[in-house]
């Protein structure tokens, strides 16, 4: 962002229990890693949500754009063999 006069932007990922996935929570501004972790603690773990925090500079994340969507995702639409539609389920199986 050209008009953003604040510190660089970071993305925050929080793990809510040991062994669980780190899920994206949002972003923040910070001058460096230490400050990013402290700010993440203050912004995203106020209600005891976290066990562990990752912070990643936003510019280090490679992301697809809206323009990529057609090339990246649409080809999957007509390949129904990629989804498990043709298996016979054993009778009585639950929770699938």
């Amino acid at each position: 962002m050209k008009n953003d006069t604040q510190f660089p932007q970071w993305e925050v990922f929080i793990q809510t229990k040991n062994g669980g996935p780190f899920e994206h929570q949002g972003s923040l501004h910070a001058a460096d890693k230490k400050m990013a972790l402290q700010n993440a603690r203050d912004l995203y773990t106020r209600r005891n949500e976290g066990r562990s925090i990752w912070v990643v500079p936003t510019e280090c994340i490679a992301a697809t754009t809206a323009d990529d969507a057609a090339d990246f995702f649409d080809p999957a639409n007509d390949k129904i063999y990629r989804t498990p539609n043709f298996y016979k389920m054993p009778q009585g199986t639950k929770n699938l």
């Binding site: 604040q6 923040l28 001058a31």
Partner: protein
């Protein structure tokens, strides 16, 4: 001084310091240098007010007269407040506020570590809970001091000015009076000599990393624990206590 009176006085002292520190930090709300720090300052403010509330609740059970925790916070005048002088000083710029948070939280950390060994279970329980909060405040403010001291000419100048403004109020945190004498004898609290030495080590460590010089001055101002304050406390209390003074027992 009777132990119960001393305990009442001592709890008020701790509660008042935390309350006034929290109130000062709350003045930053919506005025922080940037969004993330604004929230951090408000978090720290709420931590301190929470610590004050616990101690006011306990103090209210030690008083001969009937006082609620709210009465203690909002219906005592300046001379009945026993906070240390450092926390009532004006916020100044952000560097001065961070210097104040650093000097006070370094003290509170040492104090609470000693109170873990108090034979008063309420105080030791309080210390165990509160120490986690002040350790974070200490870490947060230390990082800022090191950043200022290694930053631009302006940030170096401001952080040095901050310590020049505040240093004369630091000795006041370690003062002792009659209340301490009664409590130390009973193993409830401890003398502040050891605290002072550990605090000084902590300050030296961070100031070295931040290239901050301790001012060479013999100017020491004390009196907070005896209710003798600087000109700033009365102004603060006017604002803080306005609602309870204008509309006693107001509810919503």
């Amino acid at each position: 001084m009777k132990t119960k009176d001393a305990l009442y006085n001592y709890c008020l002292r701790l509660a008042d310091s935390n309350m006034i520190h929290g109130q000062r930090l709350a003045e930053w709300c919506s005025r922080g240098p940037f969004l993330e720090e604004d929230i951090a300052l408000s978090n720290m403010s709420l931590d301190m007010i929470g610590q004050a509330e616990m101690l006011y609740e306990y103090a209210s059970t030690q008083s001969e007269a009937e006082h609620s925790a709210d009465d203690l916070a909002f219906r005592r005048s300046e001379r009945e407040y026993f906070n240390c002088l450092l926390v009532e000083q004006e916020n100044g710029d952000f560097a001065q506020t961070m210097m104040k948070v650093f000097l006070y939280s370094a003290f509170a950390k040492q104090l609470y570590e000693s109170l873990l060994n108090s034979n008063n279970e309420t105080l030791s329980g309080f210390a165990a809970k509160a120490i986690k909060e002040v350790k974070y405040h200490l870490r947060h403010s230390s990082e800022w001091l090191i950043r200022f001291g290694n930053g631009t000419d302006e940030s170096k100048r401001r952080v040095q000015q901050a310590v020049t403004n505040l240093w004369r109020f630091t000795q006041d945190m370690f003062e002792m009076n009659d209340a301490d004498a009664a409590l130390v004898d009973n193993g409830i609290s401890f003398t502040t000599e050891a605290l002072s030495a550990k605090w000084q080590l902590n300050v030296n460590e961070i100031f070295t990393a931040a290239n901050i010089n301790i001012p060479e001055t013999n100017n020491t101002i004390t009196g907070g624990y005896n209710g003798i304050h600087t000109e700033h406390l009365g102004v603060m209390l006017c604002e803080m206590q306005y609602l309870q003074r204008a509309y006693p027992d107001a509810k919503w």
